[in-house]
C-alpha cells in the first residue's frame, strides 16, 4: 500500500491553474522528491494532499485512504511558510504543538528534551521564541515536524536559508528517519539536494508533472553519448570524438553516435595513457530540468 497516492489532481485559484492533472505515488520507507521551480505548484500539491485545500478534480489517498483526524497524528509537516508562537517560551510552544499531534505532556516533555539537546537548543528552552535566532527557530520547527515520530514526513523546502552545517544536519536527520522506516516527501527547488537524498521524484512545472520516476533511470534516459575522462597526461585526438571540453578537472568527450565508450577506452589503453577516471557523463537534475523546460517552451512555440 503506497503511503501517498495522488491521482490526476487539479486545483485552480481564480484564473490561475496552480496544479494541472498531477499524479504520483510515494512508496513506504522512501525519500520522494517533489521538484520544480518556485511557483510550479509544489506547495499547492502538498496542501491538497494534506487536505488543507480540496482539489477541483482528482483524488488523493494518504496512508491508505482519505485524510482523517486520526491520521493527522501520523504525519509530520514542515511547511514552507514557517512560524512558531513568538510570545511564549520555546518549551511551551513545542509542548503545545506536540500535544496537538496526540502526545501526552509527559511524552512530549521527554522527547522535546532529547531533541533540544541534540539540536543544541536546551539552554534556550525557557526563552521566548522571538528572542531566538532564525536558525534556532528553523531547528525548532523541525522538532515540531519530527517529535511525534510520524509515519509520513512532508517537508517543504527543508534547506531554505540553512547554513552548510545545518543543511548537513537536516540531511542526516532525514536519512535517519528513513532508516527508522518513515516515508519522506521532500519538496524543493534545489535539485542537487534531491540528487543526494531522493530515491524517486516527480518534477512539476507550471502545475504539470514533467518527469516522474526513479532518479537513476531518468538520468540515464537523459544522458547523451558523452564521457568524462581524467588522465595524468593530456588526451591525444581520438577518432570518433566530435568535441572535447574541460569539465571540473576532467575532460568531457562528446562521441559520434556510432562510437561506443568501450571503443574509446580501448584506444586510451592501447596508447598507454594512464586513466584515473572514466565514466559515462550523466546529466545533473538541473541540466535535465533545463532541457525539459526548454523543450516545453519550444513545443509551445
Amino acid at each position: 500500500m503506497p503511503s501517498v497516492e495522488v491521482n490526476h489532481i487539479s486545483k485552480t485559484f481564480g484564473s490561475v491553474r496552480a496544479v494541472d492533472d498531477v499524479s504520483f505515488v510515494v512508496n513506504p520507507g522512501e525519500i520522494f522528491g517533489l521538484l520544480g521551480p518556485n511557483g510550479a505548484g509544489k506547495t499547492t500539491t502538498i496542501r491538497v494532499l494534506l487536505d488543507i485545500f480540496k482539489p477541483d478534480a482528482g483524488s488523493v489517498s494518504i496512508l491508505g485512504g482519505a485524510m482523517t483526524e486520526a491520521k493527522k497524528n501520523l504525519i509530520g509537516y514542515l511547511p514552507e511558510e514557517r512560524g512558531l508562537y513568538q510570545d511564549i517560551s520555546l518549551d511551551r510552544c513545542l509542548t503545545y504543538l506536540a500535544s496537538l499531534k496526540g502526545l501526552n505532556p509527559g511524552e512530549a516533555h521527554q522527547r522535546i528534551g532529547e531533541y533540544l539537546e541534540r539540536f543544541d537548543l536546551a539552554s534556550v528552552r525557557q526563552k521566548k521564541v522571538k528572542e531566538l535566532s532564525k536558525g534556532m527557530q528553523q531547528k525548532a520547527q523541525l522538532i515540531v515536524a519530527l517529535v511525534h515520530q510520524p509515519d509520513l514526513i512532508i517537508i517543504d523546502e527543508p534547506f531554505a536559508s540553512l547554513d552548510p552545517i545545518n543543511t548537513q544536519m537536516v540531511k542526516d536527520l532525514l536519512l535517519e528517519q528513513r532508516s527508522r522506516g518513515a516515508t519522506i516527501l521532500m519538496s524543493t527547488h534545489q535539485m542537487h539536494q534531491v540528487e543526494e537524498l531522493a530515491d524517486r521524484f516527480v518534477l512539476i512545472d507550471h502545475g504539470q508533472a514533467m518527469l516522474y520516476g526513479e532518479l537513476e533511470t531518468i538520468r540515464r534516459d537523459y544522458s547523451s553519448n558523452d564521457l568524462l575522462v581524467r588522465a595524468t597526461t593530456p588526451l591525444p585526438p581520438l577518432p570518433g570524438v566530435i568535441r572535447t571540453e574541460p569539465h571540473n578537472g576532467a575532460v568531457k568527450l562528446s562521441l559520434a553516435p556510432e562510437v561506443s565508450p568501450q571503443e574509446i577506452l580501448g584506444m586510451l589503453v592501447a596508447r598507454g595513457i594512464c586513466v584515473e577516471q572514466f565514466e559515462i557523463a550523466m546529466p545533473t537534475l538541473d541540466e535535465i530540468f533545463i532541457r525539459v523546460v526548454q523543450g516545453r517552451k519550444e513545443d509551445k512555440a
Binding site: L50, I75, Y85, L97, L100
Partner: protein, 403 residues
Amino acid sequence: MSKFWRVFSHEYARHVLRKRFIFALVSMPLFISVIMAISIFSAVTQTNFSPIGYIDHSGFLANPIYPPETQGMLERTVKLIAYPDEASARQALEANKIQAYYVLATDYLETARADLVFVKEPDNEVQNQFITFLTTNILTNQPAAVRDRIASGNSITIQSLDGSQRMSESDWFNILVPILSGVLFFIVILTSGGYLLQAVVEEKENRTIEIVVTSVSPGQLMAGKIAGNISVGLTQLLVWILFLLVGILIGRNTIDWVQRIQIQPSYLVLMALTLLPTFVMIAALMAAIGSMVTEMREAQQISGLFTLPVMIPYWFTAAIMTNPNGPLAIGLSYFPLTAPVTLVLRAGFTQIPTGQLVINLLVLAAAAVVSVWLAARTFHMGMLNYGKRLSWRQVFGKSTPTL
C-alpha cells in the same frame, strides 16, 4: 484530553498566566478603589465641621436637646454653642471659634425666621444638622412616632405592579447598578473579543496556522479558541465581581447607602442569558475579522465597526431610563449588537414584557450562531491568505470556501 481541550487550555493559559493580564485584572478594582478613596477624602476634608453658634431670642431653646455626638469618617456632628447675644457670637466668629451663627427671631415659632451670619457659607450638610436640631426641639412635646415621622420627611417610592422594580430617593444608587453592569459587560466582552482577535491574527502573522490545521480540525481549533478566550473574559468578570462583593461587605459597615443596594435574582439571570450569546457573537465576529485581515492593526480598525455599536445605548442612557419601554429602547433591543447593553439597562428600570424579552434573546442567540458560521467560513477562506486581505465580497459572496 481531546484536541479541543488542548487548544482551550493553551488559549486560556497564555493570557491568564501573563503578568500583563494579572496586572489588568487587579489594576481595575484598585483604580476604582483609589478614585473612590480620593473622592471621599476630598469630600471629608472640604467640609468644615467646626462649631456653629446660635442666639435664641424666642426662648424655645431654653433646655435644648442636642444631637448625639458622632465622629465618623464621613458623618461628623457639628458642635452647637448657644450665645446670649449677637455681640458675643460675632466675637466668637471673628475669633474663628465658630464658622457661623444663627439668630432666631423672638417670633421664631410663628414665623420660622432665622438669620444666618457667616464669613464663608457653611456646607449644606452642616446647615441640615442645625435644621434637624431645631426640628427635634420644636417637636419635643410630640409623641415619638410623630416626631420621627416629621423628622424623616417625605420619601416617595415608585414600585412596579409586580413588586420586582422599586426606586426611591434614598435608593438613588440602584440606578447605578444597571449602568455599571453594562460598563462591566462591555469591558469584559471587548477584552475577551480582543484576545481572540489577537490569537487568530497572530497565527496568521507568525505562520503557525498551517502546522495547527494539519494537527487539529478547523472546527475544534475555532471552538477551542472561542471557548478559551471567553473563559478568560469570564475569569476577569468573576474576579471583578469578587472584588465588588468584598467592597460591598466592607462598605456595608461604614457607608449607609451600600446597605440598601438591591440586585434582584431575575436581573442576574437576565444578565447571564444575555452575556452568553453576546460573548459567543462578539468572539466569533472577532475570529472572523482575524481570519480576514493580515495584520493586527488592520484587525483593530475593522473590529471598531462591531464594537462601537455595542456602546451606542450609552449615548441614549437618559432616554432609555426615562422611557425604558419606548420605541427607541425596544428598537435597540432587537438589534443584536446594541441589544446586550440596552437589555441590561432596561431591566434595571422596568419590567421588560416577557414576549419581547424572549424574542430579543432568540435574536441574540441566532446572531451568535450566524457569527460562528461566518467565523468558520472566513477562517476557511482566509487562513492561508498570507499578506492578502479577504474582500467583503469574498466573505459574503456565493463562492464556497476553498477548504
